[in-house]
């Protein structure tokens, strides 16, 4: 607390000191440890502030130095209190007013509930009222934790509840539980999608019918949905599990050393077309290719809305015999086989081994490449039981 606040607490007197010995009066006050502050000098007097006790102690030095000490102002709590005591009705009114404010602020005037889909406001109000929380309840008597627990127990659909008291307002925040809906799963078995050698079989539900290192064929049952325990047939379940197997894929590619190669002769013929909407109109040039062997280059240009100018260029080609190297022929055959295999092997399959064998014809002009791919993959497919 600073000096100014302290002075207002204990009471401050504004004093005027007149007389010839006013400076000596100041020094005497200082020696007598009388607290003085805000000392100002005017022509014939000194204005200063002091405490009530200081003013009473000033009388002696004032007499000694023949100074006239006059109180010109009073400030602070003691003087305010003195004035208040004289105005009893006002003080009583203020006290009653403050008491009423305090009293009424201790009641609950408003209960806010956050919206919920699963539980209605009335249901929440009902449970809260049973545990002492309602509009008009005495705030101190409300036990938020008790109300919170009661709401959670009463409504299992609620995931979270909080009860916050903010002045005369109570806020109940609730969060609905997200109910996970499990789709009904039909009873059925897991059967092999393709043949292979089983490397891992794990049944999550149902009963595994094959074991590690068993060779299976496409359509064979791997995990049965119907489980037999001690001779008793249990109700069928939705079979689930992992059925990994080693699977082999085979593809054959062909190629030859002698081949035909197309070369451009340099002769071109261009046809100009106009397309209006869906109608093609030949403007100039041939409407079809005048060459036996050719390729076509088409160029389109929009000239107006719904109108296109299309240029069709036919480039004449000639066929010439060529001889490829054995390496080129093998690479082509391999590429063919690879392309075939790419369509057969599923993406999730793990490649284990890849082998190929070349087989040349007796005249040494044609080659056949046999490519074998070994993978490990899940070959199980769920097959539902036929309905009753």
């Amino acid at each position: 607390m600073n000096k100014r606040s302290w002075a207002l607490m204990v009471g401050e007197l504004q004093v005027q000191v007149k007389g010839e010995g006013r400076l000596e009066f100041l020094n005497t006050c200082q020696r007598s440890r009388i607290p003085l502050w805000g000392v100002k000098v005017s022509q014939d007097c000194i204005s200063l502030a002091t405490s009530i006790r200081g003013f009473l102690a000033m009388r002696k030095p004032a007499r000694r130095h023949r100074c006239l000490v006059r109180v010109v102002g009073r400030r602070g709590f003691p003087f305010f209190w003195q004035r208040l005591r004289r105005r009893t009705s006002f003080a009583l009114g203020a006290l009653i007013f403050l008491s009423m404010v305090w009293l009424f602020s201790n009641f609950v005037w408003q209960v806010d509930i956050s919206p919920s889909v699963l539980v209605s406001r009335e249901q929440i109000f009902g449970v809260a009222k049973e545990h002492g929380l309602y509009v008009g309840a005495w705030r101190e008597k409300i036990k938020p934790e008790e109300v919170r627990m009661a709401l959670l127990l009463a409504f299992p659909n609620l995931a979270f509840v909080s009860v916050d008291i903010e002045g005369s307002r109570v806020e109940i925040n609730i969060v609905d539980r997200d109910m996970v809906k499990i789709a009904p799963r039909p009873a059925g078995d897991i059967r092999a999608r393709k043949g292979g050698l089983i490397t891992r079989i794990i049944a999550f539900s149902g009963q595994a019918l094959v074991s590690h290192n068993t060779t299976v064929v496409a359509g064979q049952m791997l995990i049965a949905g119907e489980v037999v325990v001690n001779g008793y047939r249990m109700p069928p379940v939705h079979a689930a599990g992992i059925a990994e197997a080693r699977v082999w894929y085979e593809a054959i590619g062909h190629s030859s050393l002698n081949r035909e190669v197309r070369v451009y002769t340099g002769v071109v013929a261009t046809g100009n077309w106009i397309r209006v909407g869906g109608v093609m109109i030949l403007q100039s040039g041939p409407g079809a290719s005048p060459f036996t062997y050719y390729d076509v280059v088409t160029h389109k240009r929009i000239v107006a809305p719904f109108v296109e100018h299309i240029t069709v260029t036919y480039r004449e080609q000639d066929i010439e015999a060529a001889v490829a190297s054995p390496q080129q022929a093998v690479a082509e055959a391999k590429s063919q086989a690879d392309t075939q295999l790419r369509g057969l092997v599923p993406e999730e399959a793990t490649l284990v081994e890849k082998n190929y064998h070349e087989l040349w014809s007796a005249d040494g002009q044609r080659v056949m490449v046999r490519m074998i791919l070994e993978t490990i993959e899940d070959i199980g497919d769920f097959v539902a039981h036929a309905g009753p």
Binding site: R33, P35, L36, V39
Partner: protein, 90 residues
């Protein structure tokens, strides 16, 4: 000044205001001046304050000077302080 005080001061590196009972002045800009360890007020008006301190007097000149507080050993001068000087003497 007694010789032993000077020796003690140089030996122990004590603050001079403590050893020689000198006034300590703390000034905040030219608005606020705290004078500790003064003896008495010799003169005071809006244009100046003269204080008796140990070993002489201290004059402060300025405008609208106010003694913000007067304590037993400390006086606070507020206003526009323009200058101050010491005068040696009884």
């Amino acid at each position: 000044m007694p010789q032993w005080k000077s020796m003690l001061n140089s030996l122990l590196d004590l603050p001079q205001d403590m050893v020689y009972n000198l006034p300590r002045l703390t000034m905040v800009g030219n608005r606020h001046l705290v004078i500790e360890n003064y003896l008495r007020i010799l003169a005071f008006d809006q244009g100046g304050v003269k204080l008796i301190v140990n070993g002489g007097s201290l004059s402060i000149r300025g405008d609208n000077l106010v003694l913000q507080s007067i304590g037993r050993e400390e006086v606070v001068v507020c206003g526009y302080i323009k200058g101050m000087f010491f005068e040696e003497g009884p």
